[in-house]
Amino acid sequence: MQLSTGQIGLWTASLLGQLYLVYLIARNRIWEDLPVFSWYFIINLFNGLLIAATYIYWGTQATQSWSTFWALEGVTIFLRTMVSVEIWRKTLKPYPGIWALAWRLLAAVGMLGLLVAYVQVYKQHPTFRNFMFSAKPHLEFASAITLIVFLLFCRYYTVSLEPALKAITIGICFYSALQGLNATIVNHWSSVYVPVWRYMIVLSFGCTMVIWWRGLRVPLPATERPVLYPPEFYPKYSLQVNEKLRRLNEQLEGFLKP
């Protein structure tokens, strides 16, 4: 089966959108600040071209097209994870205290996601060829949840995210959540859903690109390093603040006692 005219049109539009983003990355020198993201985007662009070529050459139902698509999906998911790590480091590394907390928290959430993915995939006994097909929804959800935790963490500690970094994070998270949903549905109703599934991949990536365009319109500002307090500062004052909060809580809870 060959690609429909609609699908070819959508792929062409997506390709043009990706080229525009490559132009923004080059013009605003984003690659200097975010090398992993820039590499991810360029590799993703070539992956898209490669998949399009396999569909045109072998058709969408061929085994070769299937294998190529899922092998490249594995590469893309791995690179997307690396982009997330790059953004976490860039945002939180200047705050060494909470960075030590954040990376442990994010690693724990990510590992838990991988564990759930492993258990779920193991239950399905997939063949080697179908491994990525079965693993994809779980990996995408693990990625989206980790990014949500990161965004909530930044919000909790009022760490400001640069608009470009926020846009990339929200874009990846949005795409991962939609892909998780898309992959879940295709896993269960593959025969009827496959054509919609293909449209959904390109459309959700298109929406993600719009989010990225907005964030990457301007170059990243120079990172302002925060002025940190001396090490003895935290134990002294945090203890006092927590003590006050604890007393306030006890008092408030006293209201509810008869």
Binding site: T158, S160, Y229, S238, Q240
Partner: protein
């Protein structure tokens, strides 16, 4: 099928949270490189303690019941309840301000205690939950005069302690800036 429903629900929840984060309160454009001005962190509502204590005194109500018509008493009660609700909301703001102070200190410290951070998060979740529960009780007309008086006294006490704490932080901040 159950798995599919769980995963579809999870995707919807994730997208909703993401939408809330993206659309919600804009983060300050200024990064958390310093503390807020001291006056921004100081508990403000506790200062109105004296007026509120006067307002919630049972003697005052008894006096009013003797002198005014029942309708007037009801109106006064209603207005008092409204003011007290606002006051409790204000106390919650005081709590949040104090909590924010703790988070900012953590963000700007080279090393933090994971236990203390978790404790603060837990205290904050608990406070919000109990405050919401209290709110419901007030809406249901449960008496609040005595416990509120206790809370207000305590916040007033906290206000003076916080003043000393913030003065110390301010002093240390100034010393840190001087060193740079």
């Amino acid at each position: 099928m159950t798995d599919t429903i769980i995963y579809v629900s999870l995707a919807v929840v994730l997208l909703l949270i993401l939408l809330m984060i993206a659309r919600g309160r804009r983060q300050t454009s200024e990064p958390a490189t310093h503390l807020l001005p001291i006056e921004e962190l100081f508990p403000r509502h506790a200062w109105h303690f004296a007026q509120i204590r006067q307002m919630i005194s049972e003697a005052d109500l008894r006096f009013l019941a003797k002198r005014a018509s029942p309708e007037c008493c009801r109106r006064v009660q209603k207005e008092r309840a409204q003011i007290i609700r606002k006051y409790v909301k204000g106390l919650r703001e005081d709590f949040e301000r104090l909590e924010r102070l703790g988070r900012t200190v953590a963000a700007l410290s080279p090393k933090v205690s994971h236990g203390m951070e978790l404790e603060r998060l837990w205290l904050s979740l608990r406070f919000r939950f109990v405050a919401r529960l209290l709110w419901v009780r007030m809406e249901l007309g449960v008496s609040y005069a005595r416990p509120l008086e206790q809370l207000t006294k305590m916040i007033a006490g906290l206000a003076s302690e916080t003043d000393a704490l913030l003065a110390g932080i301010d002093n240390l901040s100034a010393q840190t800036q001087d060193m740079i």
